[in-house]
Symmetry: C2
Subunit: 191 residues, 2 copies
DNA sequence: GGCATACTTGCCTAATGCGCATTTTTGCCT
DNA sequence: AGGCAAAAATGCGCATTAGGCAAGTATGCC
């Protein structure tokens, strides 16, 4: 399954992403070309296009990884646990034991807030994975597709809101608190 | 305020959008260049770039108009009415008396579902206007910013989900029903 | 009726997306 | 150990695009 080849590809992907992120933060995104990223990462311009569809994609890449991880984690939660509780438990665990992940997510979200093009790509990627999450929710709770979609969408939207809040507060407070607060807020009835 | 000049600009915008949409539906988006859209719309290629940042932007343009209209409508709802109820009332009114609007929205959402680039732009635009909606919600309910953001986000997300459902069902059922169903679903507590 | 302003357009250049053919690498199996 | 089939990297080329700049043109307004 996890052939060596695949892992190598993943490693290069990650490396290229990190290079892109570094350059983008250093000089500002608009002052970085794909050629430069490729060269700094030690691959050809053409190869860059084999890994990513563009700068934005390279910058946002880990978002996909992480949401995928969330989806998988939810899938392996104890059966019988309601989906919403499962998702909350998963994110709580990630925030507690993988501070780095949340930090990175915040950095990328900050970029997205400053550059509409990146925001668009980020939201597009999230939307794609939202499907998967909705699928897991559906088979977990055995609820109808609409309900599953609503739960999945609400959850990811909640994460984004929390991230934005955290960033607005200059990353001072503890992210866990803000996430909990926002998700609590989503649990309150809207009416 | 609404100078003649502005309205003319808006009219051209609209015309260019319609041209772009027509061509995109006819030949498929990837087989349409900006040059062709510009020529078919009777403006120069360079002017196209003055109106829109790209093909996707031109295609999605009315989404902005409509969400803006929703925001304005919510703003002028009777004071004292809770924001969530106000938003529901507004969308109900639009669906009832402006079938065309919803139809158009569906067409564009269908395009977005088929072309990731368009989806990204659409979500980006929605996100931008979500701010405004959250602002209106905040000053209406007098709630804290997080609550307002949650309500605004949930509402727009609900609309998107409903639109997708409607499209999946081949636009058979009545859109009003699906929208009501999804928003009802969002009112149910997540826990 | 004239003017200041805003809009349009053409020109130009750096940058991008991607198909295609070629070369190089690499995991793997005997 | 060694060769091979598959996968990946690369180079090249072309159509397309984003957007600055400056000159021309239209137009709302006084």
């Amino acid at each position: 399954m996890t052939g060596l080849r695949e892992r190598k590809k993943a490693a290069i992907r990650q490396a290229v992403h990190e290079t892109a992120l570094r350059l983008a933060v250093e000089r500002g995104i608009d002052n970085v070309t794909i050629d430069e990223i490729a060269e700094a990462a030690g691959i050809s311009r053409r190869s860059f296009s084999n890994y990513f569809t563009g700068k934005e994609d390279a910058l946002i890449h880990p978002d996909g990884q992480q949401i995928r991880a969330i989806v998988d984690a939810v899938r392996t939660r104890p059966p019988g646990e309601p989906a919403w509780a499962a998702m909350r438990a998963v994110i709580r665990g990630i925030v507690r034991e993988d501070e780095q992940t949340v930090q990175g997510w915040a950095i990328r979200t900050r970029l997205a807030l400053q550059h509409p093009a990146i925001l668009a790509v980020q939201l597009g990627k999230h939307a794609a994975l939202e499907r998967d999450l909705a699928g897991v929710v559906a088979e977990r709770d055995g609820v109808d597709p609409v309900r599953a979609q609503v739960l999945a969408t609400a959850f990811l939207a909640g994460l984004r809101i929390a991230l934005r809040r955290w960033i607005q507060e200059e990353l001072t407070a503890h992210p866990a608190d803000i996430i909990e607060q926002v998700l609590d807020e989503m649990e309150k009835p809207f009416t």
